[in-house]
Symmetry: C2
Subunit: 720 residues, 2 copies
């Protein structure tokens, strides 16, 4: 990492090849054997072949927890994940007189382990099978919407068949944008219990202020335990259930990481865009991100202003405000990072090199290029409606009652169809989720706030050029501010959807009743629905064609990579992936170096006594005492807290176990540094780092701060 000159030149907009992306890659386990050489060069001491099958140890110890990741760490179903991933479980078990978020929790014995909210799940992947031929056969010869529907239908059938087996949750994962399909079969553990959680002031030390920041000092971990019926099969909570005998578990290491050490990580990264077209990078950077930040910041202003004059409304929108701010901050950071990495130029150059290689290749090269050009034309066409589409996407996302009405109309429309033919999200399996949303509205809705947000978004719509307008919207809201205000006044003063019972009744009501309802908001949703459906239909047409055509781009990329002796991983899609790399310092800017391991000294330095820097007294006392025993770092001579690696991660990797060269658990992934927010699009090895809890900190907390000797014993670890 000596990048002083490249950095300055990059920032000046001068195109330069980035350093080799040595540790870029969210690899499918099956790809690891082909990476044996670089794995060993990075320091891995095990057999790469042992990592190839995610249904065998050690990868079958890695589980999906909520939308994130965790790992079995004992034979008795003990699961280690992040405090923030288990947050709902801790909150669910908190009472006003016993707030486990604030106090933390240690189950004295198994009987004291607290049941999670009933919808909380741990999924263990037990099958991962290629179904590409089956899926593509059905779609063969089709285009557009027909292609999309054929793939969807096959996928639904595969899922349905797979879920015939009791206790299984199945899905079909699309790899390489449609080049490959895999059926994923997961054991669905439904009785999950809280075993050990540090207090918020350890588990979320620094909170939003330190979020994305390094140096970090957060004990972001929690221990859960999965239970099953006496027959060993998944079951809902019952006091008679027994701990799940995990097929494999990870052993926490007794020594810790230091700069340069090998590290690897397994988890369920959500979504990346690394293999998108150069034009998509350009559009994201030049339009998508700046435009999103602009409209989000306007919405933030509205919520903040109204929240000041109407504090009760402010409270209801606190969560939405926080989410808006988080999105705006993330988008801004992503933009900053992509610019710093000169992403438009770098990606354009890489694509150009690939095309040059393709032009010289034999075989199907011409047909491949023709398909790529078709895909490019589709992408270019989609840009024509981008301003409108941004607003249409935000309407249901930023509203409560308006979204309810749209969902109710859609639900009414889909309900009449056989379950398998319904739109995803409106099948019977989705009903509980929709009901939850309808209930949640009660805590999050304020009429004045929703009208203000709609006035902003629809006001922006009214200013769009004619080519992007929708007749249904123009008919409903007119073309000026006065008519928009009049419509909103009429609709919101008349609607009865503010009442929870009324909303919930919609889920059982006769479709025609909903569609012909005289409730003005339901009627408005019915009036607008054709516009939303038309947009969806156009989207599916395009998606279908892209699903058909993008694989050409991916195949060209694969061939080009192969010609250079490099492997290529499919963009992340919430399936199990493995990253490897090293513990590495960060040079965020000129003259500044962040060492890759933090210590408890930083907790004391940051501590103000005020949330979120209000470390508990027992922690401060233990730090002052300096009694770190076997968990102290042998060189730093003090207790470490978090560490940094160059591993390739993204959202969904929360809770991913980090392993050392011998496959022992040394860390728990929980965040990225701010400089790598742009990594979902571009992995820049100068800045991309992942942030982990050092397992020695966990061990020390369990030994000295919030003692749990029974757990240290179960974890097969020294008592101190």
């Amino acid at each position: 990492m000596t990048s002083r000159t490249p950095l300055s030149l990059l920032a000046l907009g001068i195109a330069l090849a980035l350093p080799a992306h040595a540790y870029e890659g969210m690899w499918m386990p099956s790809q690891l054997p082909e990476l044996a050489k670089p794995l060993r060069e990075a320091g891995f001491e095990g057999d790469p072949a042992s990592l190839a099958d995610l249904t065998r140890p050690p990868l079958n110890a890695v589980v999906k927890v909520g939308g994130a990741t965790g790992a079995f760490v004992s034979p008795d179903g003990l699961v280690l994940t992040n405090h923030h991933v288990a947050y709902g479980v801790i909150q669910y078990n908190s009472k006003p007189e016993k707030n486990l978020i604030d106090e933390g929790y240690t189950a004295a014995d198994r009987a004291s382990e607290l049941p999670a909210n009933p919808d909380y799940r741990v999924l263990v992947t037990v099958g991962f099978d290629r179904v590409t031929d089956q899926v593509l056969q059905a779609a063969q010869g089709k285009t557009g919407r027909a292609y999309y529907d054929a793939v969807e239908a096959t996928n639904k059938r595969i899922v349905s068949e797979c879920e015939q087996e009791a206790g299984m949750r199945c899905s079909v994962a699309t790899m390489y944008y449609g080049a490959d399909f895999y059926r994923i079969k997961q054991l669905e553990l439904r009785d999950i219990r809280l075993v050990y959680a540090p207090p918020r002031a350890i588990g979320n030390y620094g909170d939003e202020i330190d979020n994305f920041m390094w140096p970090r000092h957060t004990g972001d971990f929690t221990l859960l335990r999965a239970y099953v019926g006496k027959d060993g099969k998944p079951a809902a909570y019952s006091p008679d259930n027994v701990p799940y005998r995990a097929p494999a578990h990870l052993q926490i290491a007794t020594d810790g990481p230091k700069e340069g050490d090998f590290a690897m990580l397994a988890g369920y990264p959500g979504v990346t865009y690394r293999h998108r077209f150069a034009s998509e990078f350009k559009e994201r950077i030049e339009w998508g991100l700046p435009a999103s930040v602009e409209v989000l910041n306007d919405l933030i202003d509205i919520v903040q202003q109204r929240g000041k004059t109407d504090p009760a409304a402010g409270v209801k929108y606190a969560s939405q405000l926080s989410s808006l701010k988080n999105s705006s901050k993330r988008f801004s950071g992503e933009l900053e990072g992509l610019r710093r990495s000169n992403a438009i130029q770098v990606r354009a150059d890489a694509q150009q090199a690939m095309y040059a290689w393709l032009a010289k290749s034999g075989g199907d090269a011409k047909a491949t290029r023709a398909n790529i050009d078709q895909a490019q034309a589709l992408l270019d066409g989609a840009s024509a409606m981008r301003e409108r589409d941004l607003l249409l996407n935000l309407l249901p996302l930023q509203t409560q009652l308006f979204k309810t009405a749209l969902t109710a109309q859609r639900w009414a429309q889909e309900r009449g169809k056989p379950d398998a033919q319904r739109e995803s999200g409106y099948q019977d399996r989705d009903l509980a989720l929709i009901e939850g949303q309808f209930k949640q509205v009660q805590r999050r809705y304020d009429a004045g706030m929703e009208r203000a947000l709609l006035t902003e978004l629809l006001g922006r719509y009214q200013k769009l050029p004619d080519a992007q307008r929708l007749p249904e919207f123009d008919a409903a809201f007119g073309r000026d501010a006065a008519s928009l205000a009049a419509t909103l006044e009429r609709v919101y003063s008349g609607t009865r959807l503010g009442d929870e019972a009324t909303r919930l009744a919609l889920l059982k009501a006769d479709p025609a009743t909903i569609q012909q309802s005289d409730d003005p908001l339901l009627a408005l949703a019915a009036q607008l629905q054709p516009a939303f459906l038309r947009k969806e239909e156009q989207g599916k047409q395009r998606e279908g064609d892209l699903l058909r055509l993008r694989p050409a781009y991916m195949q060209a990329l694969m061939g080009y990579y192969r010609s250079q002796g490099r492997s290529i991983f499919p963009d992340a899609n919430s399936t199990l992936r493995v990253s490897y790399g090293t513990v590495e310092a960060l040079h965020p800017r000129d003259s500044v170096t962040y060492s890759p391991v933090t210590t408890v000294a930083g907790i004391v330095e940051k501590n103000t006594g005020v949330v979120p820097f209000d470390a508990p007294k027992p922690l401060l006392a233990a730090i002052a005492k300096g009694d770190f025993g076997s968990t102290a770092d042998p060189v730093l001579k003090t207790q470490t807290v978090n560490f940094l690696t160059n591993l390739d991660t993204t959202g969904g990797n929360s809770g991913s176990p980090v392993l050392n060269a011998r496959g022992e658990l040394i860390g728990l992934n929980f965040d990225s540094n701010w400089e790598s927010v742009s990594a979902s699009w571009m992995f820049d090895p100068r800045y991309k780092r992942a942030v982990h809890v050092d397992m020695r900190y966990l061990r020390w907390l369990l030994a000295k701060v919030q003692p749990a000797p029974q757990l240290l014993k179960e974890l097969n670890l020294p008592a101190e």
Copy 2:
């Protein structure tokens, strides 16, 4: 610098001995021979004896420029100082159509060198003589005010005699709080010209945002030239004047600093409090700083609020607001730093150790301790009025017209006395300064703003306990908000001091006319004057006794230091001092390291194109070109900008030359890091750093960015 554990413990309030203060010290040149051993250990290659006399080379190349420092760098009177020290000169030569602040300036030849504002001075120290016996003899046997007056009278006489010699400016410096006195004789060069200044976007790159910050990327330097009459004597500007033949000059080095290198610096540090009583540290930290920050922040709010509703007033108070903010920020930083260094405890422990040593010493130990105890009692007594004194000090500082009226009354009172007997600041030599202040009011006064500020300060006064109240103030303003408002309304609606001619006339008016003026503001000042004089008188009584008694504390400290084989330097007092140490990295907090040398990559990283990060296009182009020639760092392979040392500095050290082990000029001091704002009280070697312009950056700018080959030649440097 391995301070992880000490830091955490310190922050917890646990008393620990700080690391040895290896490089603490603003030494009088005469002390350097006794420091020969540590100087050589630090890496100095010259003869320490050569540094003993500040009237001989190399120290006589170091000059006082404005309130700061500079150095001769050529035989022809070329002076190197900071851009911010020469700012007034650059501004004075700017015109709307030719803004030298924005554009920078390069004099093509001597004829193009631009005369500075006539009051701009460069002072060359030509005499430094101990006058302790003379001063103390006159004071012997006296106490309180009489002691103070005796010292003042002797000092004035010494100054007056010394200034008989044409072209000399003289002063008496008090060392060790009254243990020692020195007569300082300085040649007063009055024809100073602007030779070379980079544009603001180089010389002040980062401005307030980067002020006190590291990493830093500022080219904060300017070249001036001193001229004298044809007879070689100081003279006011004349086109016939000739360059001053400097008795010595510093040679700019051709190689640059790297971590661990020896460095030394000479300059005129303003004021430090390192040898104050432990109780003064405690009072500063527990009361003085927090109380000042609180009242300053209220004044900031007032100026900002009124500035919003009355933009014209806002513009007039922009400078005062900026100064208020700067003070509040500095005080907050000082408080933070002193707490981080656990200064109360550390100083109390050190004092206790000194007392323990004293108790075991023979000789005058008992008499010494008795004097110290008397001084302690005086200091404790002063605290009783601290809230009132803070407000009384702020009244003239934060007002324009109110201050004018107070000054006018005082001037009227002093004018009647023989010049030598007048209060300092009201002698004939001070008239030009007062006149300047009276003129300046015009640009900085707004009646509404001043009344709002007075309402705040006097409102606070009204809430003081009776013991701290002043009858004159109570009579003038009453004891409630209504009577205060009524007085201010009457005074400010009636005063004629808003008129510049009226103000200036006061300086020539008959004292009785002023004292009996019917102008309501002058009358108010006359009414309040006895209270201010009483406070001043009490202060002088105390100062006199402290001047008499503090030397006992210093002598005890000296003896204690001597017993440990250590030297002690007098607290800074704007006299020439030398610091030595090394180029050293900074570990500001856990896991963060700032390397001690920055590079041009940082300029590009910070550059937004918006002030203050709007590097000029030629600079960015030159960086992109990467043509650094002989000025590039041989290891970093790029152009350096600023560097960091552990040298002991404070305000007034701006423009101090930084020398390497061979006495060559490697840097120009211009700032400190934020973590060392508290260093005026406590030098904490973990955090204390000084920030310098790397002379290689100056050389590169003169060679490649804003070329001045004639100056490189005069500086005896390579052309590129």
